[in-house]
């Protein structure tokens, strides 16, 4: 299925506006600084420009929401409750570790 990206003419107008009006950035520029934006590393002025772009760009808004949900999903998928339960401890592991602590005593 080909995704629907909307009208080319509208995107042309939008690109023209984002490239030429003051306080506007393109979606590509938004992409380049997205990580700094998320990590709070942008100076206040630039942050405002980013927020303005988000307010007028449906695509970047949707993209950012899905990007954040992806981060949450990745993180939670790794949360394995089983890992914190007591596990069987191999005795030979304990012995190997003990030998490391006192290399001479268990020879």
């Amino acid at each position: 299925m080909t995704p629907s990206y909307g009208s080319r003419a509208l995107r042309f107008m939008k690109g023209l506006m984002l490239r030429n009006l003051p306080l506007m950035i393109t979606c590509r520029e938004f992409e380049d600084f997205l990580l700094d934006y998320l990590e709070g590393n942008l100076p206040r002025g630039q942050r405002r420009i980013f927020d303005l772009h988000l307010a007028i760009c449906r695509e970047c808004r949707d993209y950012l929401a899905a990007y954040k949900e992806t981060m949450a999903l990745g993180k939670r998928a790794f949360d394995d409750p089983a890992a914190v339960l007591p596990q069987t401890v191999p005795e030979d592991l304990i012995t190997a570790v003990m030998e490391a602590r006192h290399p001479d005593s268990e020879k």
């Binding site: 914190v84 007591p86 592991l93 570790v97």
Partner: protein, 207 residues
């Protein structure tokens, strides 16, 4: 479920100071408790980095050995668990460094799309499921993990270290021997690529 008690799993080593003193004296009970309390987490950390159970087990054993060898240098500024976590990550990275480098250009098709006007191409999202919705179905967890595994290795590692193991940019840069700028680029690309890989799930479409 009945939890199996480990040798040394009760008694004198419940408090971190006691445990540390026992470890410094080289008491078997303390070592046993230390291993029992941490081995599960460490196995998980090593396995998600090296993606091989046997190699992960070797990393865990080496990490415990290194920890015990250096226990006198542990000053208690961090928690023992945090310190051990870092040692395990380093062991896993050593295993990874010994592997041959994988092609890195595989990530390009997974990066976001733009048109000739520098406008983002992002199809509308009539609905977007949350991580919680998706993971409420047990089988989806394995699917998400398999998608993370599809990322090219040099990106996957940065994603795991930053987003899962929660190392900061400088620590990841040092661990991998790359610049902080490079860590940021790889992290952002890894997340973008993962977003594309997980999109059918997030949109509630069949995987």
């Amino acid at each position: 479920m009945v939890l199996q008690k480990e040798p040394g799993g009760d008694g004198p080593f419940n408090d971190e100071e006691d445990l540390l003193a026992g470890l410094k004296r080289g008491e078997r009970g303390a070592v046993s408790r230390f291993v029992a309390d941490n081995i599960g987490r460490m196995r998980a950390v090593a396995a998600r980095l090296v993606k091989d159970e046997d190699l992960a087990e070797d990393c865990v054993q080496e990490a415990f050995i290194k920890a015990l060898k250096n226990i006198d240098r542990f000053e208690g500024r961090a928690k023992l668990r945090t310190w051990l976590h870092r040692i395990t990550v380093n062991e896993a990275l050593m295993v990874l460094r010994s592997r041959k480098r994988l092609a890195e250009d595989l990530i390009d098709p997974l990066l976001p799309d733009f048109d000739e006007n520098a406008c983002r191409l992002e199809a509308p999202w009539p609905k977007r499921l949350s991580a919680e919705d998706i993971l409420s179905q047990a089988e989806q967890r394995a699917l998400v993990l398999s998608k993370i595994d599809e990322l090219p290795e040099s990106y996957r590692i940065v994603l795991v270290l930053r987003d899962i193991e929660e190392l900061d940019t400088a620590e990841v840069a040092e661990a991998l021997g790359i610049t902080e700028g490079n860590v940021k680029v790889r992290l952002h690309r890894a997340r973008s690529a993962l977003k594309k890989l997980l999109e059918p799930l997030l949109r509630g479409e069949a995987p």
